[in-house]
């Protein structure tokens, strides 16, 4: 099991990797093996695990007092006030138990060059760039800070950057290999015309993908009808065969007599319809247009966002998510009405609360949520280690007007819902995956410590050792 104790001295996992030798890499290898077995919790997880706390936050704003939790094979199998620890179960107690934090916008666990690349397309996959080795240190710190899952992207320098994944910080293992397609409309230093141009290019790409999807659908129906016709024709022909043969034999006979070749009857039939030329990029983008996966678009400024909201109206099935959105307040009503969530990144670097500028800084989250927009809080994929700040960012958002439950939602249930994982993680219920935190106090309070991090039923961090 790959569980690092929190570092008490200046020793990094590398050292441990070395000292523990292969045993550790076995862990990493194992987790990578689960690439195939997607989102199923690791069956080889530790034995029974029993958690107890004075307060269990089952979902934002809803908590139960003095509960026990039983974790088995990576899942929460029982919850109850008078639930007792079974024989031989590892027991961890704390003040608060809640769902693990999920960073909806991160590059942690992704190979750095792929994360920064500008050479990716819609068919590129974040799962191809997961690096459990190179970012040992970073991932280790995430486990300690309670951020156990991230939605990761690649190609932060590309306008459209392909299929992102939701991964566990523990070994950078995928939970969901196709979490979202992501695009960017924030190329710095462009003049207004080309800024709008960016949006139009995105729009036409979406349009192209939609057409490709339609063509494919059309081909499939055509093929169906053609096959039916041909089948019919074939049965007819088989029925008429004897007659046809007689006729021919006759001809042949006559032919023999006046020594000339038989002229065969010309046979005609409709050609088999051919599929549209295969295009991996379009095929991938089409899934976002069709709403199979969310479409996350990083946009900060008003011009782009206004344009974007306009051009995307026709794509009714697309599930759009705005990332960044410093100017989102200006369009709060439309965002709320169209149910478009916003991943706010209250970067400490944004000049605070200064309304001379368009950037409301830390107050953005609070004000958007007050206007009925679903707010997620993400670390902004600026660097792999940035995700570590997630609970701090959420807390700071509370300090600037966001409701405490909304802030908690923004880094747990929210991301889980937006990226179709609510049936697995993001809240604490029987049957859900055991991705949990045991805390010494309220999740967002600065004086709270993460006592234990449980990822897919495994204890991946425990304070003190």
């Amino acid at each position: 099991m790959r569980s690092y104790p929190s570092r008490s001295d200046r020793r990094s996992p590398l050292r441990k990797l070395r000292t523990l030798g292969i045993a550790l890499t076995a862990g990493a290898a194992l987790s990578a093996a689960s690439l195939a077995a997607q989102d199923e919790p690791d069956p080889a997880a530790s034995p029974d695990l029993f958690l107890r706390a004075n307060k269990v936050i089952v979902s934002p704003g809803k908590s139960l007092d003095n509960m026990g939790l039983l974790v088995r094979d990576g899942r929460i199998v029982a919850m109850g006030k008078d639930l007792a620890a079974p024989e031989g179960a590892q027991t961890i107690e704390g003040e608060v138990i809640c769902a693990a934090f999920i960073d909806p916008w991160s590059v942690a666990g992704v190979d750095a060059s792929s994360a920064r690349s500008d050479r990716v397309d819609t068919a590129s996959r974040a799962t191809d760039a997961l690096d459990p080795y190179g970012q040992d240190e970073v991932l280790d710190d995430l486990l300690a800070s309670g951020v156990l899952m991230m939605r990761v992207e690649i190609g932060s320098a590309a306008s459209v950057s392909g299929v992102g994944a939701v991964i566990r910080a523990d070994g950078a293992t995928p939970v969901l290999a196709d979490a979202a397609i992501s695009a960017r409309l924030n190329t710095p230093g462009l003049d207004p015309v080309s800024r709008v141009g960016q949006v139009d290019r995105l729009a036409s790409a979406l349009g192209g993908a939609k057409k490709y999807a339609d063509d494919t659908a059309a081909f499939e129906s055509n093929l169906k009808t053609w096959e039916e016709e041909i089948a019919k024709k074939e049965t007819e022909l088989t029925e008429d065969f004897k007659k046809a043969k007689k006729a021919r034999d006759k001809k042949v006979k006559e032919g023999k007599e006046d020594g000339e070749e038989v002229k065969e009857k010309k046979y005609k039939e409709d050609k088999r319809p051919s599929p549209p030329k295969f295009d991996a990029k379009k095929a991938s983008l089409a899934r976002a247009v069709g709403g199979e996966v969310p479409m996350v678009i990083h946009v900060e400024q008003a011009l782009e966002l206004r344009e974007l909201l306009r051009v995307t109206r026709p794509f009714t099935r697309m599930r759009m998510v705005i990332a960044g959105g410093r100017c989102a307040l200006l369009f709060a009503d439309e965002l709320a009405e169209r149910g478009i969530p916003v991943i706010v990144t209250p970067a400490p670097s944004s000049p605070g609360g200064d309304v001379g500028e368009m950037d409301p800084g830390f107050a953005l989250a609070g004000e958007l949520s007050a206007r009925g927009v679903e707010v997620l809080i993400g670390s902004g994929a600026t660097s792999a280690s940035a995700s570590r700040d997630l609970p701090l960012l959420a807390a700071a958002a509370v300090g600037h007007g966001l409701d405490e439950d909304a802030a908690f939602h923004a880094i747990t249930a929210g991301p889980a819902r937006v990226f179709d994982l609510q049936s697995k993680v993001g809240s604490v219920r029987r049957g859900l995956h055991a991705d949990l935190l045991v805390l010494s106090g309220d999740p967002l309070s600065s004086s709270t410590r993460v006592l234990a991090s449980i990822s897919g039923g495994k204890v991946v961090h425990q304070a003190g050792n």
Binding site: R7, R10, D141, A144, S145, A347, P348, S349, S350, P351, G352, G353, D354, V355, G356, P360, G361, F362, A363, E367, S379, G380, T382, S383, S385, A386, S387, R388, D389, P391, L392, A395, A396, V398, G399, H400, G401, E404, L444, S445, S446, S447, T448, R449, V450
Partner: protein, 368 residues
């Protein structure tokens, strides 16, 4: 948002008439040295704290505030408003330069900083000079210089070395600095630093830069602090022995820079005074609190975190007689919080600088 800003803007123009005497009553009063007085009255007179006690003062207007009162935060480096005016490029050393003249009181960005509860700021010289000048301590809210020639700033990191200007080597740097100190005439800044009258702030980043700086400080009997030193925990014994403090530079995300977090914990364990910087220009006004909160989530006590942003910061800057704590005779730089001041989830209700209300988050709230 808009309203609050207008409110905040007003005092900066010095428009409010100061209450010459009033008292604030709060459920918690954080003195700044670690202790907390419950349900206390803070009496302010002529911009100075007159008393902190549990019994109501007579004859002064009492303002009930709901929440916690804490000393205004002190940032030990802030280049906001100074822009690039804080380092002289033509010379490697300008020890007598006075940073108070780099202070731009009208810079709009100060508002953001005040709104985060920072009432006192140290303006040091940039790190590209070796002896860049004397840092000034200013009140961004009042737009005033509180103390000139407060701290001598020294740049002992690689960024003080030139690639095609002398010195290019640490040997050259220390030779140069040595000469500066030896040549320092009575009463000059460097002489005062040697005499221990004025604290120094030496920027040193890598461990070897820090240990060289410590040696130099020991050789010349300097007091004050090292600025930078993210890996201070690796040198905690040496630093403890040197009697110097450490000022951590707030980093861009992640604020929970593990180096700084580990170092802060180690220093606090060894009882070495340390402080943070806000660097709002690059890190935003919250950088300082984020860093402190990161340390707390890793185990630093709230009291220690608050000290680092108030009392200890004042001590390092040599202004602990007037700032950094809520006690009789100290400047009335007070911040009213919705909860514990070190908790990121707490909001700033109102900010007083020298007894003036300089920021109020909501039209209602602090004042009934």
């Amino acid at each position: 948002m808009l309203i609050s800003c207008l409110i905040a803007a007003a005092p900066l123009l010095g428009a409010t008439a100061a209450d010459d005497a009033f008292a604030l009553r709060a459920s918690h009063v954080h003195v700044g040295d670690g202790q907390v007085v419950l349900d206390a009255f803070v009496v302010v007179e002529d911009g100075v704290v007159k008393s902190v006690s549990n019994n109501a003062p007579r004859g002064v207007r009492v303002v009930e505030v709901d929440g916690h009162i804490a000393p205004g935060f002190i940032s030990l480096r802030e280049t906001l408003g100074a822009g690039s005016e804080n380092s002289e490029r033509t010379r490697k050393s300008t020890p007598t330069a006075d940073l108070s003249f780099a202070f731009d009181p009208t810079s709009p960005s100060w508002k953001g900083l005040v709104a985060e509860g920072v009432t006192t700021v140290l303006l040091p010289a940039g790190s590209s000079q070796i002896a860049g000048g004397q840092a000034a301590i200013v009140s961004p809210a009042a737009g005033e210089v509180l103390k000139r020639n407060a701290v001598v700033t020294l740049g002992l990191s690689r960024s003080a070395l030139g690639s095609s200007t002398a010195p290019t080597s640490f040997a050259g740097l220390y030779a140069h600095l040595g000469e500066q100190f030896d040549a320092a005439s009575e009463g000059s800044p460097l002489a005062d630093a040697k005499a221990g009258k004025v604290p120094v702030m030496m920027r040193a980043v890598t461990r070897s830069e820090v240990s060289r700086a410590l040696d130099f400080a020991a050789a010349h009997g300097l007091k004050g602090a090292v600025l930078g030193a993210p890996e201070a925990d690796d040198l905690v014994d040496e630093i403890k022995a040197s009697g110097l403090g450490v000022v951590f530079e707030s980093k861009a995300a992640p604020a929970s820079s593990q180096d700084v977090v580990k170092s802060a914990l180690a220093l606090s364990k060894a009882e070495v005074p340390f402080a943070f910087t806000s660097d709002a220009g690059s890190q935003g006004p919250l950088g300082m609190r984020m860093q402190a909160a990161a340390c707390m989530r890793a185990g630093l006590e709230a009291g220690a975190a608050l000290r680092a942003m108030t009392a200890d910061a004042a001590r390092i800057a040599g202004v602990d007689a007037t700032h950094g704590t809520i006690a009789t005779g100290r400047a009335a730089d007070l911040v009213v919080w919705s909860g514990p001041p070190t908790d990121l989830t707490s909001r700033v209700h109102s900010v007083y600088a020298g007894g003036h209300l300089v920021h109020s988050a909501h039209a209602h709230g602090a004042h009934q």
